[in-house]
Each structure stands twice: as structure tokens, then as C-alpha cells.
């Protein structure tokens, strides 16, 4: 993304035919800075930062300041707010955070594992029913997950699993889209010759998968993990339906409940705002640290030689 100067730019600045378009300075084949496009993107960035900047400022306010002062001007109550939030019903907030980490972490790991197996099988084997399996999978990608939440509730209620950790964890392991992605990654990044070579050396299929294929698919699998992690972290309706005990809540359901109470007890608003800020931090850090995995190409390794 940095300003890489290519031999092209020198050539184009010298030998380029003086087209009218180029003289306007707006369009051209060289890598000259375009202020228009830079500014448009920065405006987009500003739009995206706005609520985040606001929550950072607003969480430094005491409950009363929130309604009386302009919320974009910071104040000094952040620490007090965090203490108050921590004391809220014996640290319930932090329990929500831990629950969320558990649901998203364990769920996404299992989901990536299940997807890796299935994706590899679909990409690298020929077997009876493969085409049908893949069609069902594609149909599954289009099935709106939220539609499933209510029948899932009634099915799990029949085996007494609602209002437990399992109720939120288990339904989110299966991800047709994750399998679909894993299939693409396996097809693109694991050469058949490697599998052949492994077989010639007498390795079992499981061993070939774990030792050869998984490392090659790793960047793609991290992406599957992240997709599912964010998906579970963001999911609201499933835990909202499944859980009655607020000690099992993930952060989304917990804060929603707190906001609901806030409509009658406005003092809770400052807790909600501080809670929102603290809940965003881990994911933002995760995103920044693992940023490069979001660039992973759907056809990585396949297109460019």
C-alpha cells in the first residue's frame, strides 16, 4: 500500500502521449497521488471511527454529565465507571465477557476443525454423493441461520439443554459457509502431488490431512476461525432465545438487557456505554493483530504464479 515506485512511472512520465485527460491531473496511468480518492476513503474512515470515538469520550462521563454536556468533550470518570461496572451485581459484566470468549473461542475452533475435515474431503476425494453433498452445502449457505434459532430452541428444550452453555455452543459449530471456504482453500493450496507423495510414503489419509494438508490450509483455516469467531461473538438472537439465566449471557444479550433497564433507570446508561467500550476493545485488538488473515485470497496460491 506504500508508495512503491515502479519502473513504469518513470517511463510513463516521459514517454506518455499528452492526452487531454492526463492534463486534467485527475486520470492517468502513473501513480501520482489522487487527492479525490484519498479524501473519499478518509471520509469513509471518519464515518467508521465516529461512533467509536464517541463511545471512548462518552465512557469518561458520569451518569449526570451524559445528559448535560456535549458527549464529544471528554471528562474524567472513566475509572469510576469501570469500577461501578465491575461492581454491578458482583462482577456480572466480566462474567458476560468470559462467556462470550468461551462461546466464540471454543465454538470457532470446533467450527474450523469440522470445516477443515469436510472441506478437504470435498476438495480432494471423489466419492459417491459428493455432488449432492456439495449442493446441500450450498443450499445451507443460503439458509438464514436466524430462522433456525426458534426451532433449535424447541428441539433442545426437549432434551433439556436450553438455558445451558451447550445451547449456544453446539448450534454454532456447523457452518456451511466455513466448509465452503475450507473446500476452496483445500482445492487451491494443497497440491495433489503432495497427497500422492504422502501416500507413496505410506502415510495414512488422516496423517496426510493433519501433517500435510492442514499446515498448507492454515491461513485459510484461520480465516474460517475468524469468520466464525466474529459470527458467534456478534450473534444475538440465538443466545437471546436460548438463555434465561443472566449468568450464562454473552455480552450482547447482557448489554441489551442493561439498556432495557436503562430506559427506566437512566443512571444505567453510563454503565451500558462503558460496558460497550470495554467489550469492543478485545475484538478490535484481535482484528488489528490478525489483520493480515483478512486479506487472504479466496484463490490464494492458485491464481498468481
Amino acid at each position: 500500500m506504500s508508495t512503491v515506485t515502479k519502473p513504469l512511472s518513470s517511463r510513463s512520465s516521459m514517454g506518455r502521449p499528452p492526452l487531454a485527460k492526463n492534463r486534467s491531473g485527475r486520470i492517468g496511468a502513473n501513480d501520482k497521488t489522487s487527492y479525490t480518492s484519498t479524501i473519499i476513503l478518509l471520509l469513509g474512515a471518519l464515518y467508521c471511527l465516529l461512533p467509536l470515538a464517541w463511545v471512548l469520550m462518552a465512557s469518561t462521563k458520569s451518569g449526570g454529565d451524559l445528559f448535560t454536556s456535549n458527549t464529544f468533550v471528554p471528562s474524567g470518570h472513566l475509572f469510576d465507571n469501570i469500577v461501578e461496572l465491575t461492581q454491578y451485581r458482583g462482577g456480572l459484566y466480566w462474567r458476560w465477557m468470559l462467556n462470550t470468549a468461551l462461546y466464540a473461542g471454543v465454538g470457532a475452533f470446533l467450527s474450523a476443525a469440522v470445516s477443515a475435515f469436510a472441506g478437504f474431503a470435498l476438495a480432494k476425494y471423489t466419492f459417491k454423493g459428493k455432488q449432492a453433498t456439495f449442493m446441500v452445502l450450498l443450499a445451507g449457505v443460503l439458509v438464514p441461520g436466524v430462522i433456525l434459532a426458534i426451532p433449535q430452541y424447541f428441539l433442545l428444550a426437549q432434551v433439556g439443554l436450553t438455558n445451558t452453555y451447550w445451547a449456544v455452543l453446539l448450534p454454532q459449530i456447523i457452518s456451511p459457509y466455513g466448509i465452503y471456504l475450507a473446500r476452496i482453500y483445500a482445492g487451491a493450496s494443497v497440491p495433489n502431488e503432495i497427497i500422492e507423495a504422502g501416500r507413496t510414503d505410506g502415510a495414512s489419509d488422516l496423517r496426510i490431512f493433519l501433517r500435510l494438508a492442514v499446515p498448507m490450509m492454515a491461513p485459510g483455516l484461520v480465516t474460517v476461525f475468524l469468520f466464525q469467531f466474529v459470527g458467534i461473538w456478534n450473534n444475538f438472537m440465538l443466545p437471546y432465545i436460548m438463555l434465561g439465566d443472566d449468568r450464562l449471557y454473552p455480552i450482547t444479550v447482557g448489554l441489551n438487557g442493561l439498556l432495557n433497564q436503562g430506559s427506566t433507570v437512566p443512571a444505567l446508561y453510563s454503565l451500558v456505554i462503558t460496558g460497550a467500550l470495554l467489550s469492543i476493545i478485545p475484538l478490535v485488538v484481535l482484528f488489528l493483530v490478525l489483520q493480515r488473515f483478512w486479506k487472504v485470497d479466496l484463490g490464494a496460491g492458485a491464481v498468481k504464479s
Binding site: 475435515f117 474431503a121 443460503l142 433456525l148 495433489n192 500422492e196 450482547t252 441489551n256 483478512w294
Partner: protein
């Protein structure tokens, strides 16, 4: 599917059960059924059956039933489940609450999906342009809202909208401008669409940008050297090549749009403009858990699911048949 090389039929030692030191007789091995792919698919298949197929079938069954109350409706024998045919569906289609919520979501989709896709595409193309500065920074920041759960982003925007807290209202007051109440009846749909736009534009941008990066640069470098503008390169070369990605993002956006639930549910305590049946899914929730009418909730669920399916397929057919096949080969 054509490029998938069949590697398991000829290579020796393909079966985990066959020890390399004691190879099975050639003829027997050739005929033996290979369990490996099935074993690898088993966890996914079981989870799919239990948590996707079974709920769908169960919803279908529930949607065709109704509960009849006999006498005063007291005691265990007073309620019984009977076959209802399509009456739950008929009831849903004549329910003004449902029709209103469906219309609302249709309008919401018409506002949101084009806005999101156009904005994401513009951002992706600008990122891909070598002439854009600070693109790395912008890319990360625009993608960042994807890390924020819909409930939290609704909460943040909700406070930015809420007249008693909003800094914009403060600003408008300071400038003696009329303070806008975006949470009012007429505009709340835009308020919700904005939240979804904020959360989704970065993700779609990254998907499109990834596709753009995969285009070999020599495909358009020649055009650029010939003096073609960036816009022409984008319209004539880049966009047609990433069309499958655009179609995928459009379908996913459409699916997400029609099941909007978290945003209005979170905003609900802040305004009177959002009823408990504001979107179809909110109506499903209300019917199932507040009114305990699982049967009509199921019928409505099926209607929503079929609509999403139908729209996705029609969209795929109309726009381009190749979308899946291309990814697939």
C-alpha cells in the same frame, strides 16, 4: 468440479486401515469402498442434520399444526394439537402486522443493499488504485466496525441518535438549527439502515478488495499505459472480473437484510417508533415466546426462509449463472 483430480483410486496406501508394511492384494484394494471421505464429512453431516435439517423439518411440521383449546382451556387434556393444513400460512398472509413488517423490511433492503454494495465497491476500487494514499489506514479503519457486534453498534448509534444524549443535537442547538430526531416514525428506518451500513460496508469492501487484488495486474496495466482512465479500467476490466464476488456479497447482504432483528430490538427501548412486530423476525419472536403461538411463528419463519431462498435464487439466475460454477471448478 472438473479440476478435482481423483487421487484416491490409484495411489497405494490410501486407506488408513491398510498398513504400509502389509499391502492388501491389488484386486481387493481396487474394489474396496473408501470410507475416508465419509469419515471426514461425518462430524459436519451430523451437526448439519441435528442443527439445520431437523429444525427446518420441525418448523415445517409445527407450521402445519395448531393447538385447539377445549372447554375452559384448563387441565392437561384441554389443549391438543391438530393438523391445521395451510391455515397458519393463510393467517400470516392476512395479518396486517406481518404484511406491514414485510413491507418495512422490503423498503429497508431497498435502502440498505444498494447503498452498502455501491459504497463498498467504491472503497474497494479506491483501495486498489495505486494513486490513493493512506489506503492501508483507511482499509483497517473502514473494516473495523465489522468487529463490533450489531447489538453494540446499535447501542452506540442509538445514543448518537437519542436527543437527550446526542452530540449532534447539542451541535444543532448551538448553531440554532432544528434538531433532528432520527428516531421518529418516518426516519427510524434510515437510522437502522445506517447502523447496518456502518457494520457491513467494511466487510463487503474487504471481500471485493481481495478479489481485486487477485486480478493479474498485466490484465489492466496495458490498458492504463494506453491512457485508459482508472474509471474506465474499473468499469471495463476490474468490475466484470470480480462480478462473482459482487454477486456473493449481494446475496449475503440480502440474506442478512431480510432477517434484521438485533438492530431494531436494541433500539426499541430508546424510541416508541419501533413496535414489537417491526420486522418479520421480531414478529416471529413475539409470537413464539410472548404469545406462545409456536405454530403461527413457525409458519412465518417458513415464509421468511422461502422468501430469502427464492430471492437468492432469482437473483442468481437473473444476474449470472456462473457465480457458483466458477468458484466451484
Amino acid at each position: 468440479m472438473t479440476t478435482t483430480v481423483d487421487v484416491d483410486q490409484t495411489a497405494p496406501g490410501r486407506d488408513p486401515a491398510a498398513k504400509p508394511s502389509a499391502p492388501a492384494p491389488r484386486a481387493a484394494r481396487r474394489r474396496r469402498f473408501n470410507f475416508t471421505p465419509y469419515a471426514m464429512l461425518a462430524p459436519a453431516a451430523i451437526l448439519f442434520l441435528v442443527f439445520m435439517a431437523a429444525p427446518i423439518v420441525y418448523t415445517l411440521i409445527l407450521s402445519l399444526q395448531k393447538t385447539e383449546v377445549q372447554g375452559l382451556g384448563l387441565g392437561s387434556g384441554a389443549r391438543k394439537t391438530v393438523f391445521a393444513g395451510l391455515s397458519n400460512y393463510a393467517a400470516a398472509f392476512s395479518d396486517p402486522d406481518f404484511l406491514a413488517s414485510a413491507g418495512r423490511v422490503g423498503l429497508y433492503g431497498l435502502i440498505l443493499v444498494p447503498a452498502m454494495l455501491v459504497l463498498a465497491l467504491v472503497f474497494a476500487l479506491l483501495l486498489d488504485s495505486k494513486r490513493t494514499r493512506l489506503a492501508g489506514f483507511s482499509r483497517v479503519v473502514i473494516f473495523l466496525p465489522y468487529a463490533v457486534p450489531a447489538v453494540i453498534s446499535s447501542l452506540l448509534w442509538g445514543f448518537l441518535y437519542l436527543p437527550s444524549v446526542s452530540p449532534f443535537v447539542d451541535l444543532a442547538n448551538a448553531l440554532n438549527l432544528p434538531s433532528p430526531d432520527v428516531l421518529s416514525q418516518g426516519t427510524v428506518i434510515f437510522a437502522i439502515a445506517n447502523i447496518a451500513l456502518w457494520g457491513g460496508v467494511g466487510f463487503n469492501m474487504v471481500v471485493m478488495y481481495t478479489a481485486l487484488k487477485a486480478i493479474p495486474t498485466d490484465l489492466y496495466e496495458a490498458a492504463r499505459l494506453d491512457g485508459a482512465s482508472e474509471i474506465r479500467v474499473a468499469l471495463a476490466i476490474k468490475i466484470p472480473i470480480i462480478l462473482p464476488s459482487l454477486i456473493m456479497t449481494a446475496i449475503f447482504s440480502l440474506i442478512a437484510t431480510l432477517q434484521v432483528f438485533a438492530e431494531p430490538t436494541t433500539l426499541k427501548p430508546l424510541t416508541n417508533s419501533i413496535s414489537s412486530t417491526y420486522t418479520p423476525l421480531m414478529k416471529v419472536y413475539r409470537d413464539a415466546f410472548i404469545r406462545n403461538d409456536v405454530n403461527s411463528a413457525s409458519a412465518t419463519s417458513i415464509i421468511i426462509a422461502v422468501t430469502i431462498f427464492a430471492l437468492s435464487f432469482v437473483f442468481l439466475r437473473v444476474v449470472q449463472r456462473r457465480a457458483f460454477q466458477e468458484e466451484n471448478s
